[in-house]
Symmetry: C2
């Protein structure tokens, strides 16, 4: 397919590379910032543009990968081409595109992307929604060309997925940051924690997380919890986070059996 990429951030970058590797042609890459557009366009052999006026009809699909609140600004400028338009957002209704064109869809990669980190795109779950069955199938075919994990997900369920992803990924990464900062304040290297973090994630490959919860809260070890809160006495926010998450773990679990 001929694909036009609207955006040049993490999602745009990884999607473009995956499409290109699967043999599709990236026609144009748009970004408000010409330097960003040019960098990505160079990598995927596309034309870089920083003005939507320069969009051409020489494409089969527009993939919109810009910040959520910018989607509504670009759709009206694309709909005149009568091509398929899909956004890549977890949180935005397909309706936002349908208001302008019936050839609307969603192509949501349920993954966290950073420009500096390679990943195997064939394992990225792609959540597909189309305004018609024909569009859904067309998007599924495109999706299958770059991933083995394709799901049909409607707008309301996709929003739940996105919300769950914020907990499982964004908040989790922030907890990693907190732990790194705690160690740094006491001259210890984050390397000491890396094996623990990897194992914590590895565990849920084959287990439900509720079955492998460990730590003071699930053991109802009130003494340790109090010691930790005391250690955080000069970090009000961290103390609040510690307290709230511990309470929620205790609420979710029975008390331990005395062993660690």
């Amino acid at each position: 397919m001929r694909i036009t990429i609207i955006g040049s951030g993490n999602v745009a970058t990884h999607l473009s590379a995956a499409f290109k590797n699967a043999g599709h042609r990236i026609a144009q890459v748009y970004s408000r910032d010409m330097q960003n557009a040019a960098l990505l366009a160079y990598h995927v052999g596309a034309e870089a543009i920083d003005d939507l006026e320069n969009i051409t009809a020489d494409t089969d699909i527009f993939i919109i990968a810009v910040k959520d609140d910018a989607i509504a600004e670009v759709v009206p400028q694309l709909s005149g081409f009568k091509k398929l338009i899909a956004h890549t957002s977890g949180a935005v209704d397909m309706q936002l595109i349908q208001d302008f064109t019936e050839r609307a869809g969603v192509f949501y990669p349920l993954q966290t992307f950073s420009k500096t980190k390679e990943l195997n795109f064939r394992e990225v779950p792609l959540c597909i929604e189309g305004a018609t069955e024909e569009i859904t199938r067309e998007l599924e075919e495109l999706a299958r060309s770059i991933s083995n994990n394709i799901y049909r997900v409607g707008s309301s369920q996709r929003k739940i997925l996105h919300l769950a992803a914020v907990f499982a990924c964004n908040f989790t990464n922030h907890l990693y940051t907190i732990s790194e900062q705690l160690l740094a304040q006491h001259s210890m290297s984050f390397d000491m924690l890396r094996p623990l973090i990897l194992e914590t994630a590895d565990k849920i490959k084959e287990h439900s997380p509720i079955d492998v919860q460990t730590g003071p809260a699930v053991r109802n070890d009130e003494q340790t919890i109090q010691k930790h809160l005391q250690m955080l006495k000069n970090e009000a926010k961290l103390q609040e986070i510690y307290s709230l998450l511990s309470q929620d773990i205790i609420k979710n679990h029975n008390t331990g059996n005395g062993d660690k």
Copy 2:
């Protein structure tokens, strides 16, 4: 070495197996629950006991792997043997053992263990502390026989490590649980999130987590944050967790650049 294991939980189970595999002899396994003691003792070829009166002197070291507040109960019953005694806790001072014997140490594995999950013990960071340089070296030698990641860590730094581990592991796993429950409430499988969770952890192998933070909060995407809070309106605790962690991410980061 001849090793006596006090406890039969997750830490006791994984440590015993690692010692056994490294050629050490597990002399006895103690648990208040004879069935638990017997099960672990069977696996590592040791004698099972459920009464500390039956501890024998035929050992070189007592490794205490019981719940933190039970450590103080067992030490006085072991110190008479004049053998090395080490606990495995992140949160407890070595002094608690030293109050009873100078042959005191700490052997803290900075990892999350579940009985049903195998792991490569050679990658587990072991934090060692000894009452004397001789004891520290003895514990380091024992540690090196089962792991490649040995650190000397004093009691006060070990407590920081343990606190950081609660954030990076225990709280993280609870966020996984929250996300699984959100999906389940809407008839979606946790399998959809597993690749995201694994990638989130994989990213920090070679990056600092603060450099790879993604999501609405780091983009300062107030509209999405408000939508998410609205979706959680019937889940007061989750709403509170969402709000607190988002605020903390915003506080830690600058605003995004418009791209995703």
